[in-house]
Symmetry: C2
Subunit: 211 residues, 2 copies
């Protein structure tokens, strides 16, 4: 409970690698947010973190890996999460992806994440569109490959559209009362939409015939 006592004790027992990695990620978020993807560098991030550039290379294979690690909160890896959820079927994937998205954007880093991600999405600069490539190739691509349904790409597109739309409505448009609704309520309302996109027979989902 006494904050004064935790510093030295923590210093004595800290897992040094975790502290250094966290320092680098904090610096990366600040640098990417301030300078954009293109101008931030491993070297500038190392300088801001007060560590040797070799340490940045030790923890992260490259700038893109560092960016991905920086822009999701500790413990959530969207690509790994989707790879784990998709083989469990549409119902598990729908609920899991929705809760993961809500958790990421409501995390303490949510507002730090928001601007560079959307700035990257609207930019015509291919470098700044990095986050789009990460989402499309690594996250949605994995989901489509691992989910055992027909027309998987279209179904994952549709799921992504509604999940992205909930985030836009909550975070960018701040639409009330949706923006203040708790996660369970959002899941109750939106999950049936996602399950329908993932499971409804293609002909009745998108077919031109009656029904």
């Amino acid at each position: 409970m006494r904050a004064e006592g935790t510093g030295p004790r923590r210093r004595g027992r800290r897992p040094a690698g975790e502290d250094t990695r966290a320092l680098i990620l904090d610096a990366a978020r600040a640098q990417f947010a301030e300078h954009g993807y293109d101008k931030a560098s491993g070297r500038s991030i190392a300088r801001a973190a007060g560590v040797d550039p070799a340490l940045v290379r030790h923890y992260f294979a490259g700038k893109s890996e560092l960016f991905a690690a920086a822009f999701v909160p500790a413990g959530i890896n969207p690509m790994a999460r989707v790879a784990e959820l998709a083989p469990q079927g549409p119902d598990v994937l729908a609920e899991g992806i929705l809760r993961t998205a809500l958790a990421v954007w409501d995390s303490p880093h949510g507002s730090t994440i928001l601007r560079p991600v959307f700035a990257g999405l609207i930019s015509a600069d291919p470098k700044l569109r990095f986050f789009r490539e990460y989402l499309v190739r690594n996250v949605f691509g994995t989901a489509a490959r691992k989910l055992d349904v027909d027309h998987a790409e279209l179904r994952i597109n549709l799921m992504a559209s509604q999940v992205a739309g909930v985030l836009v409505a909550k975070v960018l448009l701040e639409l009330e009362p949706l923006a203040s609704a708790d996660h369970d309520t959002v899941v109750r309302i939106v999950k049936p939409t996602l399950v329908r996109y993932l499971t409804e027979p293609y002909e009745s989902l998108a077919g031109s015939g009656p029904g």
Copy 2:
């Protein structure tokens, strides 16, 4: 068919007001896109259009009206459209709003619209958030007031989330095959989602009980 012949004839017969108004709107789009909402002014737009500033004030009551008129294609007024559709009920509103959104974003001005609108949405600057205020107050607010359903605000929030999500998926994320699907196909797939949000009894839509 002969382009050389149309200039003078057009000049002789043009509805002068329409030409001037179009000139001002073209200049406004360029100025807002280049300088943002805050720095563009009636005066700078008049200068870019080569018209007297008094003419800008003649056609548009203020900068906000000019901005709204500039960022939707000629002939589509989202607020008026919603005011016309909502009293006709959920089915008409759902299909109309979806087709309007798709038409706006697939119009020749679509890509010109895209960046300043999203830049405004992600900005912390209240001036740049103008488009959000326009959408929330004028478009969604009108829909909620004129649609005769319970929990209208939440239902309109949800409809807006899915419509915005389709635009994000198509225009920003360029998710295929959804991005290339024709409007009729998108309407067939997405309209049932919107109708469900607008019509499903509240208890089964968002209630915590079973069902």
